[in-house]
Symmetry: C2
């Protein structure tokens, strides 16, 4: 059910005044993740004004409400997330570098008091991107950067450890922690790790994605066997990388993402066993 059903529609439209209601703002925030230098990074912007001036925050902003009463400038939630991401990174949304970005809804955060100014409901999204250029501080942000996730001192409970220099505004530490946990889980049973790679990648590169997101080293041989044995995870390009590993070794073969949408059997992280309870 949605708004007051005790009027028929014509009557509703005639008598309805949005100013009768308590105001609620709806925003989208984006947890955009990428891999740089083998480490997991998140896109953050630095706030130039109060509240939380000088602190870092997830990119985001208002959803354009529009709607049948106010014209056709209404915007769907995923579109708003892509727009915010494009504005903050300075990258073109369609066809450009953001074309191969995976985007999904993460969750909605609406506790009273999470924004000191008014009631704000934020629909958080999660994005997996291949390596992108440094963002340009456009729009509202004083600064924007890819920040190593490890540098934020996040705890499982969604807070930042005391002494962490880069503080996160609002409840964005909680949102980011939820996004990281979602990402870790998604890598287990979907082939989305390939979204962190370019169009072509090697199995060792794919393994480094898993290691960066999960924060633990994997057995190279078993990982290799697993990736090739799951149907539709990757498909061979027939080509070979033009260089060996950083410090030696043969040239690895090149693959691209397969057509599977789920990994079966899943690729479970080793540490999971201890976290069960």
């Amino acid at each position: 059910m949605t708004p007051d059903p005790r009027r028929d529609e014509a009557e509703f439209l005639a008598s309805y005044d949005p100013r009768d209601y308590d105001p609620v703002a709806v925003t989208v925030d984006v947890v955009a993740l990428t891999i740089r230098d083998g480490a997991l990074h998140v896109l953050l912007v630095r706030r130039g004004f109060a509240p939380y001036a000088g602190m870092w925050a997830l990119p985001g902003g208002f959803v354009q409400a529009g709607g049948p009463l106010r014209g056709a400038d209404a915007e769907d939630l995923p579109d708003a997330a892509v727009r915010e991401l494009a504005e903050e990174t300075g990258l073109s949304a369609k066809g450009g570098a953001l074309g191969r970005v995976h985007l999904e809804q993460l969750g909605t955060y609406g506790s009273p008091g999470r924004d000191p100014r008014m009631r704000v409901i934020s629909v958080a999204h999660l994005a997996f991107a291949p390596e992108l250029p440094d963002p340009q501080a456009g729009g509202d942000a004083a600064d924007a950067a890819w920040v190593p996730v490890d540098a934020l001192g996040l705890t499982d409970s969604g807070e930042q450890r005391p002494g962490t220099t880069r503080r996160l505004a609002f409840d964005h530490a909680r949102i980011l922690a939820d996004g990281l946990e979602r990402a870790r889980g998604k890598l287990e049973y979907t082939p989305l790790a390939t979204a962190f790679c370019g169009g072509e990648f090697t199995i060792p590169e794919l393994r480094s994605v898993y290691e960066a997101v999960w924060g633990e080293e994997l057995h190279a041989g078993n990982f290799h066997r697993k990736v090739l044995s799951v149907p539709g995870f990757v498909e061979s390009t027939g080509a070979t990388s033009d260089r060996g590993g950083r410090r030696g070794g043969p040239r690895p073969r090149l693959y691209r993402a397969g057509d599977a949408r789920l990994l079966h059997p899943a690729l479970l992280r080793p540490s999971r066993e201890e976290e069960i309870r």
Copy 2:
């Protein structure tokens, strides 16, 4: 990031007028699932007024915005979901029959035009309940009932098959389909199937929950072995059911939910193999 940061807070509070913004309404909807007579049921209410008068809908309603500007009647999203559930079922929220209900956020639906009256952002929740009494049509609803999910003719794409008598309002077929898929997945890797049972249950009863949600029969012997081998899934009460099966058989033993929060290894549904691509 959230609202306009180009003012400091005091200035913002003085100059801010919510009437400057396009109006957005935020609602919560609840996909409440239970098992009745071995079949999966969902709680629905029948709409008495336009739009979608006479059609069925998920229980739900406005979030009480409140907030620092308007007093302390602000309401968190899960609280709003519990309140709507209590209002529609006529059951007491705390301590009562709703006490053991599992509730989690499902997703947020905000496409322009999903409500013909205005822009409505709906935060959908998913609830797993043990068998509850029939709801009383209270509040805004003309009627309320537990409806067998199979009777709604839902397709994977979130629509209702032509010819289905009970039509769902708004995009609630889509939301319900998403909720069902979430429920099916949750049963694989969490012990939440126990939330559909009472405090004590037998392993055959637990199996019938899986069969109702997944819509397929399971191998009784393997299911039994699996449930007992996963640490923390169930724990024995030492007691035995006072009656055998419906049509014979020995008296099954009684168990209660264990302390595990994740099933490891997971209990994967057999049909999954075909759906992968």
